[in-house]
Symmetry: C2
Subunit: 345 residues, 2 copies
């Protein structure tokens, strides 16, 4: 095959806020397959916040290395097998893998993954929109499910706070916690999102973190304190959660959005002694370590989606050309729910 492949790469390190011009496309001829390789034409790209970390010149210890300038980006994607030199995969099959941000991906089954995800895998039709296997029935759903249940041991009696609750993961976590019986407050970054949390998701409390000190807003939303905090923001949100935590509280930490796009001097917790005084647990996690829960998550979330007890929103941008715009919009938190790019199908 000798088609031209476009691959999105980093043009320069973002200086403060991410811009579309921080990226540029490379063009490469699609290479011939070596034995054991599979050629996939990408159809859906998952635009995830965690990619922001790898655009920096340094990444935190334990994390994947920074993208080099000019290096093609990677990310979770769905696609269709075009050619195969591996016996387990045949042309026409729908697959998931980690080589998004490009038209075509050459994938070696059993190769590297992103944080435990992204090995080449067949995707089975399940009656829902295909792209939901990147969202509520895929990595977003698993992050919410594992964080609440396996990491933070959600109980029906809990009062829960979900940050970034209008986002891809947060919106599922907030609804899952409510459907499991908890009292749930959510926070987000715009009046429209807060309205969504209150009206569409029916949360017990909701606030815009721009409206004052997060600790005060949280105390007003959950005046009796919280038992569980689902953290994807870090920084002032984490401080507020510790201050408002009841004895024995649990914090599931899956990200630190506040730290991805505006450094260097975000405020950091100065109240960690409360971890002792209130016997609080903070547990960082990556969903890839909980892939054994994927089936249970899909069963439960699938049931909620099917009977309309769970709502799911997504922003779809069409064509690979829009991937830089999608990245900027996702990092800025412009939209409710998941951000995706649909490639020409």
């Amino acid at each position: 095959m000798s088609a031209i492949n476009r691959l999105l790469s980093l043009a320069r390190r973002p200086d403060g806020r991410l811009q579309a011009s921080d990226f540029r496309f490379l063009e490469q001829r699609v290479p011939d397959l070596a034995a054991g390789e599979v050629l996939v034409r990408n159809t859906w790209l998952s635009i995830d916040p965690s990619i922001r970390i790898r655009l920096q010149a340094r990444t935190p210890s334990g994390y994947m290395p920074p993208f080099e300038i000019g290096e093609p980006l990677v990310g979770l994607a769905l696609g269709v097998v075009q050619e195969s030199r591996h016996e387990d995969f045949a042309p026409g099959q729908t697959v998931s893998h980690m080589y998004g941000y490009r038209d075509y991906a050459v994938v070696r089954p059993g190769g590297s993954t992103i944080g435990g995800y992204g090995a080449l895998a067949k995707v089975t039709e399940n009656g829902f929109p295909l792209q939901w296997q990147l969202g509520p029935l895929g990595s977003s759903g698993l992050t919410a499910y594992a964080g609440l249940l396996a990491v933070a041991n959600l109980q029906p009696s809990d009062t829960v706070w979900i940050s970034a609750a209008a986002g891809a993961v947060g919106s599922i976590a907030a609804q899952l916690a409510k459907l499991r019986g908890a009292i749930v407050s959510g926070s987000a970054g715009s009046p429209a999102k807060v309205d969504y949390l209150r009206t569409t998701l029916g949360l017990d409390g909701a606030f815009d973190y721009h409206d004052g000190p997060v600790g005060d807003l949280l105390a007003a939303a959950a005046p009796e304190g919280i038992d569980l905090y689902f953290d994807s923001v870090g920084s002032d949100h984490l401080i507020a959660a510790i201050d408002q935590m009841r004895p024995g509280g649990r914090i599931a930490m899956c990200g630190a959005l506040a730290e991805y796009d505006n450094h260097p001097a975000t405020p950091m917790p100065s109240n960690l002694f409360q971890l002792v005084s209130k016997e609080i647990t903070i547990k960082g996690f990556r969903a890839g370590s909980y892939s054994h829960l994927m089936q249970a998550m899909q069963d439960e979330v699938g049931t909620y989606l099917r009977d309309d007890s769970m709502e799911y929103s997504e922003l779809v941008l069409h064509s690979l050309d829009k991937a830089p715009t999608a990245l900027v919009a996702m990092v800025r938190g412009d939209n409710i729910g998941k951000t995706l790019c649909a490639l020409e199908n």
Copy 2:
């Protein structure tokens, strides 16, 4: 009974470093007992770091309230029953309770406790020095044992760092971890203590945290990283532990010594995203919540003490008059091991 009772109280809030003149003695007539009460003559006082927190004008959320100026201090103590108006206690019995820092204590069985400890309880002779039931066979031992085993799930394959490793709790934790098969480094605040860690306790690594940035010292002591950190210091020690932690690492946090006596501006973790990238758990705890492990701890630690595979040091100051001096010495970290006051017996 109409003896005079001396009770140590707070004379003024400490301004920076604690001084003996921050305390003064009250004299009160020992009251007549009401029905259900027991009069105890104190014989041993446990001088514990956590009392420092309650000398401040404010205590962290979830913690016991500050001592008022002029309010008698409390703390774990051993004593002998002098008079009893409770059927379960008789004169001559040795007991433990929470009303230390005074000659005589009037105690109501079943009354309030300190963080789960300190209900009036009979103490049984066990072949060891009596005061060890305030130390390695009491609260210090339980803090070390519960923190390592129940909170942080110590494995023989772990590389462990114990802060304040020459202290009452740390010295037991360090030895327990080694006896359980782990590779153990310890840190402390003087050359004499580091020599004790290296020579007497035989730890695999030891450093004085004054000798440079803690992160660099820890990296030199445990160049392959650590799996478990036993934290009683907080602050720069906690930051260093997170930086050096291997994936899946656990932090058991029982205190924050660095924050008790020199505020307000200790550096605080700015590396918490590593909790996500390395899937680290931080769990704050109070030993009082693990009193169900007391017997198992006493069995194991008692065996080690009996066969001399565990060493235990203590500084004993004689007479209640010395309690202010003992408090200052303990907070300054002057001595190796536990600090106690022995009252006239």
